[in-house]
Symmetry: C2
């Protein structure tokens, strides 16, 4: 197809292939005059380097893998945007894999990454099992955990303190005067859900309330707007409206908001509502949603920087487990 390779360039420029390679990779080693001559030939011929040949010989690629739990959730999309920006700026390509929370698909992604000999992998893991990652590291592929703390010192991770976030949200509701709180969340196997709930319980205990009676938890199978609306409808039907609702997720919260609205329940008049993630749509809804903000884009950005640092300085790289503190954003839905 293309046909024009490094040696065709060399022929036209009147140098050897090795010199062309040097122009490409260590321009300082070649005399300015020849350098320019080679560059001109490259331009004239429309030469583009064959990445695979380069990777094969050099032993490492300029590619990273990104395995996300749910590409449909704005939270993860923001992470992806941050990662892509940094990677792209540093000359790295990003291979995208959507795991959808499935272990099988996640393993598939990692296998694909391994075949491509990516330089490193960014992953929002679907569970706590770290064995899969060791397979990658045996191949010399660095791994950084995103939105999940690394429980071992030989791994980088970038995450947000979800216990603190849960506490923040609940304390806010308590300060607005609520004494009975409903917590609508997802499957308890998801670490984020478990941590946020635990934060809520801690906040109640700190206020002298017994979590067992003051907090009623509803676990939905999915963390989508549809699930949230269903939870709200069930709540209204039961007739036992709480003073406040804490959703583990803005998607759930937006669904709850809509469910309550349709039933004629006023927010924040009748019920106070707070979500989690502070996605862009939280502020755009008709009653703007109070939420817990996480530095989402930063998560992706910093994770990528850590990853590429680990790849670039394998010797002196110090593994870091970074944990951000979330932030309360009070809006209309909590008065």
């Amino acid at each position: 197809m293309s046909g024009v390779g490094i040696k065709e360039v060399a022929r036209v420029a009147g140098v050897s292939p090795g010199t062309v390679s040097n122009v490409l990779n260590r321009p300082e080693r070649v005399a300015p005059e020849t350098r320019e001559r080679v560059r001109r030939a490259i331009r004239e011929l429309g030469f583009v380097r064959h990445g695979s040949a380069s990777t094969l010989r050099a032993g490492h690629s300029r590619t990273i893998g990104l395995s996300l739990m749910d590409i449909g959730n704005p939270f993860f999309t923001d992470v992806a945007a941050g990662a892509e920006d940094v990677a792209s700026a540093l000359g790295y390509a990003v291979i995208l894999g959507n795991s959808g929370g499935s272990r099988t698909k996640e393993e598939h992604n990692l296998r694909v990454f391994a075949e491509h000999r990516v330089r490193g992998v960014l992953i929002t893991p679907s569970d706590d099992d770290p064995r899969r990652l060791d397979g990658l590291r045996e191949h010399g592929i660095s791994v950084v955990l995103v939105d999940h703390p690394a429980y071992r010192p030989d791994l980088c991770s970038v995450s947000v303190d979800d216990v603190a976030g849960g506490r923040l949200a609940t304390r806010h509701l308590l300060e607005r005067g609520a004494r009975s709180i409903h917590h609508i969340t997802g499957p308890p196997t998801i670490r984020q859900c478990a941590d946020r709930r635990r934060g809520a319980e801690l906040a109640l205990a700190a206020a002298g309330l017994a979590p067992a009676t003051a907090l009623e938890t509803v676990e939905m199978p999915a963390m989508t707007a549809r699930a949230g609306q269903e939870a709200a409808e069930r709540l209204v039907r039961s007739g036992r409206l709480p003073e406040a609702i804490f959703c583990a997720n803005d998607m759930l919260a937006l669904g709850v908001l809509r469910g309550l609205h349709q039933a004629g329940v006023g927010v924040p008049g009748d019920v106070a509502l707070i979500g989690y993630d502070d996605i862009d749509f939280a502020v755009a809804s008709a009653v703007s949603l109070s939420s817990i903000r996480q530095p989402t884009y930063e998560l992706g950005r910093i994770a990528t920087e850590l990853l590429l640092d680990e790849c670039g300085n394998p010797g002196e790289h110090a593994h870091r487990q970074i944990m951000f503190q979330p932030e309360l954003v009070a809006r209309e839905s909590t008065g």
Copy 2:
């Protein structure tokens, strides 16, 4: 690092490297017994094929490039999800590039794709200039346009009829009794905006109304919720509220909805409102948003199928320009 290659596998299985390669690529050519022996060795050694070496020798990779205009917009995210699902199922990896509407970044993406010798490229182009694509095709890389009709018969494309969509939305507003309509849109250089506006004008003309007087168009620099809210605030301040508003985008519409709500303007009581794209959040907002639905996920899915068909059967592949018809989704915001 890894160290275990095809010939180590061959040694353990007691065959030649060529046979291992055959087990990997044309299993039917090797006797069942040897095949199993080789497979066992592969499992035992944890061998994973070196994709770059494979690509280099075979002359083509199992990778496609995906260049998106805005990964933050749920519309494009859905497209990406559809593309990733199909590609992954067929054993292809997806390299992600976010162009953000910038020509420079788009060119950067295409260059990266070319270096990686991707098998094909999916692109939501930021403008009508097709020359960049020819560069790729000279390298034997197929291209499929997404959300943009191909104006040439030698290119596949998958898009949605935006003129029809604009007409649909406007006709719906007219049927609800509106006679003066505001159209809030983005930069007119964006094809989608231009087409949707043109559809609106056609609908007015068909109803015997002069577009020049019955349709007032407001062009915002961005198509975000923030821009929509600003447009609504300006509208309220001007005191000249129209009977209906047609936004070129759900993000804009959600912003408008919030702006009107805060100013005490009732939707749909005082003003009817319709958006475009039918993103998930349209139904989740407190007053559910009427919108124009596009088969977003399908767009990504079918584009990928076309692309991989073109790669697989270069000879008999017939280029197709597929255009879907959008669909009206009437909800609360238009009464």
